[in-house]
């Protein structure tokens, strides 16, 4: 199976003016919000990216549509290396990669009717004759399961689920190969979320799309993605096939994450630990300040270890069995 997208050693930095951020690199004034991240998306599949708030998930999404320039690393789309300083490359990227943002309210222009919101994408692409615009818009709206009558409404008149479908229509009105979905259902109610997830799965096979799917909800991640990566403070801690990572997590963080996946059951009362809930280290493993299994070696950031069957783990204990913490 070919890879539609290959990201290698991606690093994105923010300039830090003041403050005492935990990841602050002394002297340089730069903070790596995404640090040496590599993954690939196979054609026709969904790659899921999970991680806590502030781990840099959205930044990666923005890089993939050219809204952010990486400081280092390479992004290869359909075999073509993207130079983020070349306009032609960015146009190529944006023509083939669509994005649905997290916040359906903030990402739709409140002063435009839905039809115009979607039309903007067509105008910007310059791929369609103006005569065909309306036809194309209506076709897309049917595709994403939006009523045609909503075309003349303003975004505020629509429900949360409908707004996300408008975002989806705007992303797909110019046919795309890859869709970046940044927490597309996190602001929706469960029943509406289920409808949108169903639509997304349908569209994927119908239009032969690949997805880059971001979510913090492991249940949604399991249901949507073929492969997944776990991000923590800008570092990818574990990548692999979803089934493997969920059933046999290798990194201590992933182990903790998977043992905390909420389900429809009464929770077993757990012994409470007093561990800090966050923190990272600038030089060693990003997880070493929190990790219950930390030892001397962790002062040096671990590389990605191949632990077989497409599972890669950034931990020196990758071949050992680690127990979830706070169980005693």
């Amino acid at each position: 199976m070919t890879n539609i997208l290959e990201v290698k050693n991606l690093t994105v930095s923010f300039v830090v003016r003041a403050g005492n951020l935990l990841l602050f690199e002394r002297g340089s004034g730069m903070m790596n919000v995404v640090n040496d991240v590599s993954f690939s998306v196979r054609e026709g599949e969904t790659f899921g990216l999970a991680g806590e708030t502030g781990s840099g998930k959205s930044i990666i999404a923005w890089v993939l549509v050219g809204l952010f320039k990486p400081r280092a690393g390479s992004v290869k789309f359909l075999g073509r290396e993207i130079n983020f300083r070349k306009k032609a490359d960015l146009t190529y990227l944006r023509r083939n990669v669509g994005i649905v943002f997290q916040d359906p309210v903030g990402s739709l222009n409140p002063r435009l009717r839905v039809r115009e919101v979607i039309r903007e994408a067509l105008i910007a692409s310059r791929l369609f004759n103006q005569r065909d615009h309306d036809f194309r818009i209506e076709e897309t709206v049917d595709l994403v399961g939006l009523r045609r009558s909503s075309l003349d409404a303003y975004p505020r008149e629509l429900s949360g689920g409908e707004k996300q479908r408008v975002s989806l229509a705007r992303a797909l009105v110019v046919p795309k190969k890859l869709l970046v979905l940044d927490e597309p259902t996190s602001s929706l109610d469960v029943s509406v979320q289920a409808q949108v997830l169903n639509t997304l799965k349908e569209l994927k096979s119908k239009l032969n799309l690949s997805y880059f799917f971001i979510t913090h909800d492991i249940n949604v991640m399991k249901y949507m993605s073929d492969s997944l990566g776990i991000l923590y403070y800008g570092k990818l801690l574990e990548v692999g096939r979803t089934y493997d990572v969920v059933t046999t997590p290798k990194h201590p963080f992933t182990v903790r994450l998977m043992s905390n996946v909420p389900g429809l059951k009464r929770a077993q009362p757990q012994q409470e630990d007093r561990l800090g809930e966050q923190g990272s280290s600038a030089t060693g493993c990003v997880y070493c300040k929190v990790c219950p299994h930390v030892f001397e070696k962790c002062d040096v950031s671990p590389p990605m270890f191949d632990s077989g069957s497409d599972q890669f783990v950034a931990c020196y204990l990758h071949d050992k069995h680690v127990e979830p913490i706070a169980s005693s």
């Binding site: 289920a194 409808q195 913090h216 249940n219 089934y243 909420p262 389900g263 009464r266 929770a267």
Partner: protein
């Protein structure tokens, strides 16, 4: 029921008056809570769950809110008949509330200690005359320690924006529990937190409930959170309680079609699982509610009767109340 109910809501019906007409937000809500019980109020957005919480603690502005009918008895006193001053006596040591968004609920220009002190001052100063700052400090730090906050002395010197979501949420919980309320209303306290932090907060609250016997009302849209912590739950839809009963019984065997659909909508399997059996359509507009049962346009088992008449609450053999004609005994 042997022991007296801590809280009893009977037939609460509430309207919001707006420029384009009146909207019925709560219709004939009845709810009872025993001492030390953990109760879940579950529903999707617009189901009226937050309004219910706010009406119990008496924080709804009137207008626009207008109580049409019903009573809210807290320790046998009708909160709806009290004046504003009388009602404020019941807050703090009586009823505490933690609000939805911790960032919005905390004042951004005060350090967190000032905000926790505020709740202490209001109630303790009235009780004791020689209440010193040192006493305040002790109460504050003890409470934060109870919530297993790391380095509480450091946290209280910070502004809300300097804290992480989990810390902030614990500060707002501290504000509500520092006066050791008998009833704590928690409105979406775990929304927006990471799963691990969410689990920790739930554990801490459960532990607090065990130790102090504080009754808790969990208002949440997240069925999984409710199922993890609540003894009983109330499933709300369009301002009505559709199903009420023991959490385990509801989980194992949901009776109302809405509850069934809600559970089925939660993704459980891997990528090759079949499409989710989601209920069609969206929650109804409260201004244009359907006739009869409010769920009938989305219900797979709809009958003519459902369209004509709204069902009453049927009581089942396992002490559940379900608002559905399917439960009517032939």
């Amino acid at each position: 029921m042997e022991d007296r109910d801590l809280l009893r809501v009977d037939g609460l019906t509430l309207d919001y008056a707006s420029v384009d007409g009146r909207v019925r937000v709560l219709e004939n809500i009845s709810l009872r809570m025993k001492k030390g019980e953990i109760l879940g109020v579950v529903g999707e957005s617009g189901s009226g769950k937050t309004t219910l919480g706010l009406s119990i603690i008496g924080l709804l502005d009137s207008p626009p809110a207008e109580i049409i009918n019903g009573s809210i008895l807290f320790e046998e006193r009708d909160l709806l008949k009290l004046t504003v001053t009388e009602l404020s006596q019941f807050r703090g040591p009586g009823i505490g509330m933690v609000f939805q968004e911790s960032l919005a609920a905390l004042n951004p220009v005060y350090r967190t200690d000032a905000q926790i002190r505020e709740s202490i001052k209001v109630f303790e100063k009235a009780k004791r005359e020689n209440f010193s700052t040192a006493d305040e400090d002790k109460m504050m730090i003890d409470t934060l320690n109870d919530l297993r906050l790391d380095r509480p002395e450091w946290v209280v010197k910070k502004y809300p924006h300097e804290l992480s979501g989990g810390m902030r949420q614990r500060v707002s919980i501290a504000m509500a529990i520092v006066e050791k309320p008998k009833l704590l209303i928690l409105d979406e306290v775990t929304t927006g937190l990471d799963v691990y932090v969410q689990n920790r907060i739930l554990n801490i609250l459960k532990d607090l409930n065990r130790r102090t016997g504080t009754a808790m009302m969990f208002i949440t849209h997240d069925l999984m959170v409710a199922s993890q912590i609540c003894d009983r739950m109330y499933v709300m839809y369009a301002g009505r309680v559709m199903e009420e009963g023991n959490t385990e019984r509801i989980l194992n065997h949901p009776l109302h079609p809405y509850t069934q659909k809600l559970f089925a909508a939660i993704p459980q399997g891997f990528v090759d699982s079949p499409p989710l059996p989601a209920p069609t359509g969206e929650a109804p507009d409260l201004k244009k509610l359907p006739t009869g049962c409010k769920f009938h346009p989305r219900c797979p088992y709809v009958m003519q009767k459902c369209k004509d008449t709204e069902p009453p609450a049927f009581r089942t053999d396992d002490e559940r109340h379900v608002l559905c004609w399917l439960l009517e005994k032939q």
